[in-house]
Subunit: 316 residues, 2 copies
């Protein structure tokens, strides 16, 4: 049997065919209709699925069900997108609408949640059943898997792991609070802190890597730290400490078997995970009898959304 | 059918008979054997249970199973107390040992966990299935119930909700980290902050309520704030803001239907919950479509440990 994973974003919709062993057979991408009318988008997705299975010689009967990952606040039980600001959606019954058009069972969850499930089912966390995924991108997203099932909180409104205050009255966060993990551990925060450090040290190697402040990205500090620049190293060290503080909190709260890291900053691999593991080891609760989680980089990359969405409907 | 709840502490062991409708029939208390030899304690508990059911005219056959709440790090799946510092226990197979002596099924969990389960099954949270209990006592404990079941984390080592950093590099916590919720929201922290405020303001009404610093307790600031003392009010306001910051984090993480507050500080009732609810409303993630949790004072009081322990084994 084949399953469909749909990864909805504000600019594009990626859809893939995933086998029940989690192999990605094929995928396609279409632009998100700019009217953001969900009925148009639902029809677009249905056609995209039809085209993709036809191209791969798969009949409709061979498709078991459809999973959707979507940004925003989702009520997964009802299949409704309560609110998705980059799609201009409020109270959109996306799953029932796609189910009606396709005649298939459709499940939906938040994009970070499906990534967590996908990474646990067949990615970095496949050896484990209790995991926490943290995505380090423009923002900080989170997904939690408990005993191989997605944990979403009441009406699927939990696991906003980026919006956990670690520095009371600290940096302003996009959510309105101050001092959230996102305000320190997102790529956006890393870039802000890199720029601040560069402004204070005009001799830093970082000015060679990124000759103007608008060229600074999430790699600037890491790459220059690797080349021995002390100012860059300090930016990296502080970034890792803030992220480590957040991860240590999640370990004390969820005590997962593994922390999975996704998002752009993860390209740093061991430069990120090695010092993080040390920090978390030193800062989590308990003694020698307490199991220590692995800290791993997510492996599904750009396909995490599609495979994760499909994993909502692939049976165990 | 009747069930037994056993609430183990460093000084005493409370045992109760609980009906399957969660009515507490009778209870007794014995001192904890000071050798802390678990085999002696297991025999003491077995005798305590025998005496209690005999006194109440209940036969052994009418006892369904036994639940235990115990402080420390527990592996509930194996029934082992991995570590309990106030009992001087390490790797103690408490549940299997009591099962062998009594011939009954025995389950065990951490004391804050069983309190959370008990309060959700038949206390302040009985209308809800997704709750977070926070106990505000000498330390800050936590328990999480998801879909009417205790969530404990891998090897039952999660939900250390007191040990979540909310103020990076803040007050020293007993766990070794700095800035944990426990270091701000425990009764111990409240007393510390009350003393600090009194030392700074020799005219505060708090000096009348607690004439010397060693007389200060968790009520000092609250009671004097009620009488209009500005310095006391500031202590209370700050305490509530720190606690509110922690609760807002837990709401964003777990999105429970209700937050349940236990422990000594909760005697303040609405003086605590009303401003807390305002803070949490203003500081949690999401808009109008997001369900807002109730904030409620735990109602089982001194029986929370017994009833909670029994709730580990009372069938749904």
């Amino acid at each position: 049997m084949y399953y469909i994973g749909v990864d909805i974003g504000g600019t594009g919709i990626k859809t893939g065919i995933v086998k029940d062993d989690y192999t990605l057979i094929d995928k396609s991408s279409i632009p998100t209709d700019k009217s953001f009318d969900y009925k148009i988008i639902v029809n677009d997705i249905a056609k995209q699925i039809d085209d993709l299975i036809a191209k791969n010689g798969i009949s409709k009967d061979e498709v078991g069900a459809i999973g959707i990952g979507c940004p925003g606040a989702i009520n997964s039980e009802k299949g409704i997108v309560d609110y998705a600001n980059n799609l201009y959606w409020e109270e959109v019954p996306l799953a029932p609408a796609l189910a009606e058009v396709t005649g298939k069972t459709v499940k939906i969850s938040n994009d970070a949640n499906v990534a967590a499930l996908g990474e646990t089912k067949c990615g970095a966390g496949k050896k484990y059943h209790d995991t926490v995924l943290i995505t380090l991108g423009t923002g900080v997203g989170g997904g939690v898997v408990i005993e191989n099932k997605l944990f979403e909180g009441f009406e699927s409104k939990g696991t906003e792991l980026g919006h956990v205050v670690i520095v009371r009255n600290g940096e302003q966060c996009s959510c309105g609070r101050k001092g959230c993990l996102e305000a320190y551990a997102s790529a956006t925060a890393l870039i802000r802190d890199t720029k601040r450090a560069m402004e204070k040290d005009k001799n830093s190697l970082m000015w060679k890597f990124s000759p103007s402040l608008d060229k600074v990205d999430g790699r600037t500090s890491f790459e220059c730290a690797k080349q021995g620049d002390a100012t860059a190293q300090k930016v990296v060290d502080e970034y890792i400490e803030y992220l480590g503080e957040g991860i240590s909190n999640f370990v004390n709260i969820f005590r997962p078997q593994a922390i999975l890291l996704g998002g752009g900053v993860c390209a740093q691999g061991e430069y990120l995970t090695k010092p993080l593991k040390k920090f978390v080891h030193e800062n989590t609760y308990g003694g020698k009898n307490i199991p220590e989680p692995e800290i791993l980089i997510a492996t599904l990359g750009n396909n995490a959304g599609i495979i994760g969405a499909a994993s909502l409907v692939i049976p165990d």
